[in-house]
């Protein structure tokens, strides 16, 4: 039984490290994990869940604003990007945040085509991250169910 736990813990560790290495996550995600303890085992999952809901909502409203070429509300889009950048930054969603930086630039010069591309990209990135983190949380759950502890992972 010990080896099962050890194996799962190893898997978890490797997976988490790979997410950092591939640029999906940054140091802020580490800060989030620090705030979680035995008393609040779902904290990270809850925060990222709120983040993904936020993404979905903001992407929808920005999509509406960008819909008609002759009538784009760039102010609204800019506000959406700002919020998205802020929340992605708060959870450590590095790729999403980086798309937001390009997105803001397109907005600043009122480049509708550019904005649409960024919108598509941000949609792709958040959904990708959502899948990855779901896999991570599943691993966590398996460890707990096998009676093990979630490893503290040090990222350099």
């Amino acid at each position: 039984m010990n080896t099962v736990v050890a194996q799962l813990q190893r898997q978890f560790q490797d997976y988490l490290v790979s997410l950092y290495q591939q640029g999906f996550l940054d140091n802020q995600f580490t800060e989030l994990r620090k705030l979680q303890d035995e008393g609040t085992p779902d904290f990270v999952a809850e925060v990222v869940s709120l983040f993904f809901d936020d993404c979905s909502k903001l992407i929808n409203s920005m999509s509406r604003s960008l819909e008609r070429p002759e009538n784009v509300d760039f102010k609204q889009v800019d506000s959406g990007v700002h919020q998205l950048k802020g929340s992605s930054s708060s959870v450590g969603a590095r790729r999403v945040k980086n798309v937001c930086i390009s997105f803001k630039e397109c907005c600043d010069v009122q480049n509708r085509e550019g904005c649409l591309r960024c919108l598509q990209q941000v949609d792709y990135e958040y959904k990708m991250l959502k899948t990855k983190l779901q896999d991570l949380f599943n691993l966590e759950q398996q460890i707990v169910q096998a009676g093990g502890a979630i490893p503290q992972v040090n990222i350099n």
Binding site: Q28, E31, L35, V47, S79, H82, G86, S90
Partner: protein
């Protein structure tokens, strides 16, 4: 002849401290982002603070009873030790909230910390000039909160010690007067 109480017998109580309890800082956090609210709330709880979170500057003013309407919460019951507010919020900004708080005789002594995702020097200067205690770049770290808490606790301690010292002086002064009057 009545017995004159010696100064040591006067009860210098703890109620001069504005801390919600000896150890707990009560923080009012203001942010329009639900993700950031969840995050800051946890950050503060982990740092042993009591937290009230609101989603707008308007709500913050309502909570403090500064919105013009007569609030049911008398400010004496409200022991807020720190206000942390996001800068960019729809409607009233964190900067405007800061100004309103500093204009209020009831709350101007409460330290206000501004949080922002943007490192804009003129913005930082403006906030500090208006009386902000500190300006934190988002995302806020545990270390930021710890530093804040430590400096506030030290300031509280200084204030408390000064008040206690003042009371001791007043008490011994009364004692001397009573003794002279031979009551």
């Amino acid at each position: 002849m009545a017995e004159v109480m010696r100064p040591e017998k006067f009860d210098i109580s703890n109620d001069t401290s504005s801390l919600a309890s000896p150890e707990l800082l009560h923080v009012l956090a203001v942010d329009d982002s639900i993700v950031d609210r969840k995050f800051i709330e946890r950050l503060l709880k982990v740092s042993s603070c009591k937290v009230t979170v609101v989603d707008s500057a308007t709500r913050a003013l309502q909570y403090l009873g500064l919105d013009g309407d007569n609030s049911s919460v008398g400010f004496q019951d409200l022991k807020i030790n720190l206000i942390m507010t996001d800068y960019s919020m729809p409607g009233m900004t964190g900067y405007e909230l800061l100004k309103k708080i500093k204009e209020s005789s009831a709350f101007r002594e409460i330290p206000v910390v501004i949080m922002s995702s943007e490192n804009i020097l003129p913005r930082i200067d403006r906030c500090l000039e208006e009386g902000a205690e500190d300006f934190l770049l988002k995302p806020v770290k545990l270390a930021d909160v710890k530093r804040l808490r430590d400096s506030l606790m030290k300031a509280e301690e200084r204030v408390f010690k000064n008040i206690k010292h003042k009371r001791e002086l007043e008490a011994s002064d009364i004692y001397s007067q009573l003794k002279r009057a031979k009551i």
